[in-house]
């Protein structure tokens, strides 16, 4: 499996995980009014500001053969260090804050009157979330997803620390570029750079285009509160 396929596989899986995890966290935090709000938000955003090597270190300590998660999984004969699962974990950890922060901002922009109107009409909290808020916040959520996708695709430091460089299994495009450059193979490196450039740009443009069509097609009304 070439680095391109490995990168896409890992990025796709982590984006899906991040999408649901991030949305859940964003919704919960947007509605949470307790006194630990600031601290919780800080902790959830931490992987964004800390260097990826910190994330790599923490994950390594946890899932390594002597770490708590590693020992637990060893009971089932599962080892995730140096596997693509570890790469997914690394990508999720570093890209999660992007999804969380951006989606939460989108949720908080929604006019509370609309949410309350839905409630008075008898909608359950789940319906309010999934049928009212998510569509209303969709442009923000779509942007968040695109950003998380890009961040996962480009994740290098943490991935190298916990998934290693295993050609055919965990050698993602960024890792392939790094080792090709180290080995003096500039041509191969340049090819991979061009490929990841193309993939990232295409995804961004597609997401923006789709997003615009959504809003243009008379999408979520009532952003500014009109009925």
């Amino acid at each position: 499996m070439t680095p391109a396929w490995i990168s896409i596989k890992i990025t796709a899986v982590s984006t899906v995980i991040i999408f649901f995890l991030g949305l859940a966290a964003a919704w919960f935090m947007a509605n949470y009014k307790g006194k630990w709000k600031g601290l919780a938000d800080g902790i959830l955003t931490l992987p964004l500001v800390l260097p990826p090597t910190v994330a790599g270190f923490c994950i390594l300590v946890l899932i390594g053969v002597h770490g708590p998660v590693g020992i637990f999984l060893d009971l089932f004969d599962i080892r995730i260090i140096f596997s693509w699962y570890a790469a997914v974990i690394a990508a999720v950890v570093v890209a999660f804050p992007l999804m969380y922060k951006t989606s939460r901002g989108a949720f908080e922009q929604i006019d509370p009157n609309i949410i309350n109107a839905a409630r008075t009409l008898g909608a359950s909290e789940w319906k309010v979330f999934w049928r009212v808020c998510v569509p209303l916040a969709w442009p923000g959520i779509a942007a968040a997803t695109a950003l998380s996708f890009a961040r996962s695709l480009g994740e290098f430091g943490a991935t190298l620390m916990v998934a290693g460089n295993i050609p055919g299994k965990t050698q993602t495009i960024p890792i392939a570029i790094y080792f090709a450059t180290q080995g003096g193979n500039m041509k191969a490196a340049a090819v991979w750079v061009a490929i990841i450039f193309a993939i990232s740009l295409t995804v961004m443009v597609l997401m923006n285009g789709w997003n615009e069509r959504q809003s243009a097609a008379g999408g979520p009304a009532g952003r500014k509160g009109a009925a």
Binding site: G64, V65, H66, N165, P167, F179, Q182, G183, G184
Partner: protein
């Protein structure tokens, strides 16, 4: 009022940081005048293969006595990465590689002082396992056993230890088998760390790395015929600002004092 306070606060922070940066750079020259010699202070940057870390660090202390005006800064890494840096113009004075390949590449690029190239040391290649491993591994062929799920190797194109390892496995006709379980590291020290932590079940490192770590044990030693000779050549980079000091350092590495240190760490003197 609030805005004014904020502006004042920001200006204070800027002033503070500029002040501390200035103070920091002031303290540097203060450390120099300790040298009583009338000789000019010289700074040398030495890029050296990762496997030389412990030995060269000890030699650095000794060299401070031998040549007090010289301050050595080391840059350790895989020979491939270091050679790349020099090819791209990094300001390095001396380069010590773990294989002839990287030195020859630079020589062909015309970046070395050809007369300064000298083969300093030799080493042996070993298969190591974590110190508490119970896997039945006593020869290189055992790397194919199912007990070894992850085999740590240096990345062959940039890490000489990885290239030598590949040669050994090729001579044993098992390169494809081990490729299926190989995890590639960016330098030999990383291979050692992975085996020490147990995250890799086995790895191929130099004898010098293995015997100086108590967290791994040597499972097998490669025969000299199974790989190309492990040689550590040193050379002066021709863009150096201090060619005499650079050559003097390389000469010192061939002195009896330095040789004693290398032998202590397990290197063979050439």
């Amino acid at each position: 009022m609030k805005r004014k306070l904020l502006t004042v606060f920001l200006l204070l922070m800027m002033a503070l940081s500029m002040f501390s940066m200035a103070a920091c750079s002031q303290s540097e020259p203060a450390a120099e005048p300790a040298a009583e010699e009338t000789a000019e202070p010289v700074a040398l940057t030495v890029s050296a293969a990762a496997s030389l870390t412990d030995a060269l660090t000890e030699i650095q202390t000794m060299y401070k006595e031998a040549a007090p005006e010289v301050t050595i800064t080391y840059n350790f890494g895989s020979s491939g990465a270091l050679q790349q840096q020099i090819s791209e113009g990094a300001e390095v004075d001396v380069f010590i590689a773990a294989a002839a390949k990287q030195i020859n590449t630079l020589k062909d690029e015309g970046r070395l002082v050809d007369e300064s190239i000298v083969d300093l040391l030799g080493n042996r290649l070993v298969l190591v396992v974590p110190a508490d491993s119970t896997a039945a591994v006593s020869k290189f062929e055992d790397a194919a056993s199912a007990d070894i799920a992850h085999l740590a190797l240096g990345e062959p194109t940039s890490v000489p230890a990885g290239k030598y390892a590949e040669e050994v496995f090729t001579s044993l006709n098992m390169l494809d088998t081990i490729k299926a379980k190989a995890v590639y590291a960016k330098d030999v020290k990383e291979v050692l760390t992975w085996v020490e932590s147990g995250n890799a079940d086995a790895g191929v490192v130099y004898l010098t790395d293995a015997i100086n770590s108590d967290k791994v044990k040597v499972a097998a030693e490669a025969t000299e015929e199974s790989h190309s000779p492990i040689v550590y050549p040193a050379a002066v980079i021709n863009t150096t600002a201090s060619p005499d000091a650079a050559q003097a350092f390389i000469d010192y590495l061939g002195s009896d004092d330095a040789k004693a240190v290398f032998e202590k760490y397990g290197f063979t003197i050439l």
